[in-house]
């Protein structure tokens, strides 16, 4: 009989058992992928040794032609088919995207209120374009790490709402990447600096990216990163700096709205070059042959052009500090993230505001990916002995529509995640068996001023007289900031079925459709892919369960229970080896159901350990109404 290897809890048994985990910064203008190698985070570079991948995809009639620099090179010549800045459209409706106006020279197609972009390869959703970018990054990681990726952490702006987060998760699913966690960009940056220095205290993260501005206030204590508040502006970024310069150019050149998309794009590119030059130079020559204009822009002029934008960012900092109930003097470190923070005027103003020089020693373009890689390494289980724990917050309040188009807030912004809140509703008609809930996200009083997230339909309410039913709806937001809704009629105990219609997201059917579209032989490959996905999922379950059994099987299960579980695991192993999807699903479901009590006992044991011997059942059962 082979001897079982038992490792010290929190230690990796064997070097070869290390898993391949990556952190991905999916940015508006560029993206990166990083990993932890020999305990050190490293950004993975392409064959030309470049760390960044421009978030650009060029499409031709044959599909994806190029991603990254090669795609960007086509931007001036073929703007309609070179998609950039799609992150700005993630989880957005057509009406929002139209508001971006001439900034993005695309032809939009309406698909149920969702924007699709017309390209030579057919209409593309922002989610599908993001998936193409993610796939390029995952491929780079696979090549460099020498095998399949076990899990990824993808970063999102802290300010992203539920729809934008869900869209990001959908993109990863299309790209066949297993996302262990969505991580807020400022939190990732704090992790990159925090672990590096073993720091303690209050950190402000100032993240001015290509398209969004985020500011977060965190408290670090013994490896726990507790986000106190987060704020920012989801429509403020380097692109706006470029646009300010471009508008100045157009004014100087005496040109106005009659520009073609190609012309406007070339002016924007020149504006960006000018802004980047002014980081070191005192003045720069701006040359726009397409307008037949050339001129000089001084740093001083530039700083005047963007003064309003910098001010807007600092106002958001002040509000966020106030939300954290902290004075500016309480901030111990200021961390800079995003390429735009290289701009001298931004650094000066941030230093003046916080009264201390910001930390800039990790490249502001790379710091987010570095933090994501560290968190991915922890989550995949490569360094479970670490105390690193991230407690993030809900960025925008969640509410439900009430009479008269008003919003009743159910969970307030800056609430620590995960969080669950329940609300009771009743029926207003005799025999009513269904009801609808409209969930919105935002701070305003009126439904129309908030973002519509989804409409939930509760069905299967037992028929009763009006006002008698007590439907308890629970809103659960997980650590990713994603919302789930469950409902239950309290007097009868009947669970209501909840169906979700996302306002600006993809339905399950649409995702399935897109998955099959990405293959030439649709039907056949769709099946195969579904089978493969399920096989991976089921193997993961087996792996988790084997580890759990090895640890706690003896203590928490009777011999009979253990025997039962092991038989079910054997069945599942056989089903994985076969190629029947329905059988595999059935075997998986059976094992999940059978292992649930064991899972609950294990979790209770964990918390009991932390609670020093108190009975958990007493605590949770008698929870406050």
């Amino acid at each position: 009989m082979a001897l079982l290897q038992i490792s010290e809890p929190g230690q990796t048994p064997e070097p070869h058992a290390r898993k391949r985990a990556i952190g991905i910064d999916l940015g508006t203008t560029h993206s990166l992928v990083a990993t932890v190698r020999d305990g050190k985070p490293v950004v993975l570079r392409d064959r030309q040794d470049r760390p960044l991948l421009p978030s650009a995809v060029h499409y031709t009639a044959n599909g994806v032609d190029a991603v990254g620099y090669e795609a960007l090179a086509q931007a001036a010549e073929d703007p309609h088919n070179t998609l950039v800045s799609v992150k700005r459209m993630m989880g957005r409706g057509l009406a929002d995207v139209r508001g971006l106006g001439k900034q993005l020279p695309y032809r939009f197609v309406d698909s149920d209120g969702m924007p699709l972009i017309e390209t030579a390869a057919g209409p593309k959703s922002p989610v599908a374009v993001s998936a193409d970018i993610l796939q390029a990054l995952a491929m780079r990681a696979r090549d460099l790490l020498g095998g399949a990726i076990d899990g990824a952490v993808i970063t999102v702006p802290a300010y992203f709402d539920d729809a934008q987060r869900q869209a990001t998760r959908d993109a990863a699913r299309l790209a066949d990447i297993r996302v262990m966690r969505l991580l807020n960009e400022p939190t990732a940056a704090a992790v990159a600096y925090g672990l590096d220095r073993g720091g303690e205290g209050v950190v402000a993260v100032f993240d001015l990216g290509g398209g969004t501005f985020d500011v977060s206030i965190l408290r670090l204590h013994k490896g726990v990163f507790e986000v106190l508040s987060t704020g920012g502006d989801s429509a403020l970024g380097g692109d706006d700096f470029d646009r300010a310069v471009a508008e100045w150019v157009l004014q100087q050149a005496g040109k106005h709205d009659d520009l073609s998309p190609v012309q406007y794009r070339s002016v924007l590119l020149e504006a960006r070059r000018a802004r980047e030059c002014l980081t070191d130079a005192q003045q720069v020559t701006v040359n726009c042959p397409s307008l037949g204009w050339q001129g000089t822009l001084s740093r001083e002029q530039f700083e005047q052009l963007v003064a309003g934008l910098v001010d807007k960012a600092l106002r958001a900092c002040r509000r966020t500090l106030r939300d954290a109930a902290l004075d500016v003097a309480a901030v111990d470190h200021v961390v800079m993230v995003g390429g735009v923070t290289r701009t001298p005027v931004v650094r000066q103003q941030v230093q003046a505001f916080f009264g201390k020089p910001p930390l800039v020693d990790i490249d502001p373009d790379q710091v987010v990916a570095v933090g994501a890689a560290i968190q991915a390494d922890v989550l995949v289980g490569n360094r479970s002995g670490d105390d690193l724990l991230l407690l993030d917050v809900l960025p925008l309040s969640l509410g439900i529509e009430t009479m008269g188009g008003l919003v009743e807030k159910v969970i307030h912004r800056n609430t620590t995640l995960p969080v669950a809140r329940s609300q009771e509703f009743t029926t207003y008609k005799d025999g009513q068996t269904a009801m609808a809930l409209h969930v919105v996200q935002g701070e305003r009083e009126l439904v129309d001023d908030c973002r519509s997230l989804a409409r939930f339909e509760l069905r299967g309410i037992p028929p009763m007289n009006a006002g008698v039913a007590r439907i308890r709806v629970t809103f659960q937001v997980d650590a990713d900031g994603l919302l789930g809704v469950t409902a239950r009629e309290e007097t009868s105990g009947v669970e209501s079925r909840v169906t979700v219609k996302p306002s600006y997201g993809l339905s399950e059917d649409q995702i399935a459709g897109m998955l099959s579209d990405s293959y030439t032989h649709a039907a056949d490959d769709k099946e195969k892919r579904a089978l493969r996905e399920q096989q991976v999922e089921s193997s993961r379950l087996l792996e988790a369960l084997s580890a759990a059994l090895q640890q706690d099987g003896e203590a928490l299960l009777s011999a009979a229970e253990r025997q039962q579980l092991e038989t079910a695991m054997q069945c599942l192993r056989a089903a994985i080896a076969g190629d029947g999807l329905p059988l595999l699903r059935a075997a998986t479901d059976a094992l999940v159901a059978l292992s649930d009590p064991f899972a609950a006992r294990r979790m209770d044991a964990h918390i009991r350990h932390a609670l020093q011997g108190q009975s958990l059942d007493d605590l949770t059962r008698e929870k406050q109404p």
């Binding site: 509000r319 991230l390 620590t416 659960q476 999940v592 605590l619 406050q624």
Partner: protein, 175 residues
């Protein structure tokens, strides 16, 4: 029967008006280290679900206990009193008059010559009144004088709302 003091139990703390904030924070972090879903990323779906629930419970209890007013409301609920929605207690006339005086001062602040000074005065008065109200609650709760405790929480709730209005007014002033 009154409910068990679950929130205090979760952190192994005595049921009390006063909670040591750093001890509470330390216990909170320690417990989250054990149950947070990120600690169970590789576990079975059942364990992950349970982790989300337990971690949510901890967050709820922590938020409640670390805010003095929310803690007071919770303490009253343990005594079977609903301070969150029960508005039937009688306001004393002095406090009502004080409220009106403050609201007028706030409404006039924006048109005054020194709006920031007006706000600073109001901030200070609000802070002082809050401390006095907290003390009044502490005494009433200690003596189990529930009517007085409910009245104190009523005043406290007004002060907290007023404080938020002052914040908003200052925000507008600075923008």
């Amino acid at each position: 029967m009154n409910p068990a003091p679950v929130y205090f139990q979760l952190f192994d703390l005595p049921v009390s008006v006063d909670v040591d904030p750093s001890l509470l924070a330390a216990r909170y972090r320690e417990r989250q280290q054990a149950v947070h879903p990120d600690r169970h990323a590789g576990s079975s779906p059942g364990e992950r679900l349970r982790a989300v629930q337990l971690s949510s419970d901890l967050n709820e209890a922590y938020q409640c206990l670390r805010h003095p007013l929310q803690r007071a409301v919770y303490l009253l609920s343990l005594a079977g009193l609903d301070a969150a929605s029960d508005r039937t207690f009688r306001q004393d006339m002095d406090f009502l008059q004080q409220q009106m005086h403050w609201r007028e001062a706030l409404a006039d602040a924006s048109s005054s010559a020194q709006p920031q000074q007006v706000l600073d005065t109001l901030f200070a008065e609000c802070e002082r009144a809050t401390r006095m109200t907290e003390q009044a609650f502490r005494e009433a709760y200690g003596q189990q004088e529930w009517e007085a405790a409910m009245a104190a929480v009523g005043r406290w709730q007004f002060l907290e709302k007023f404080r938020a209005e002052l914040d908003a007014a200052e925000e507008r002033l600075l923008d």
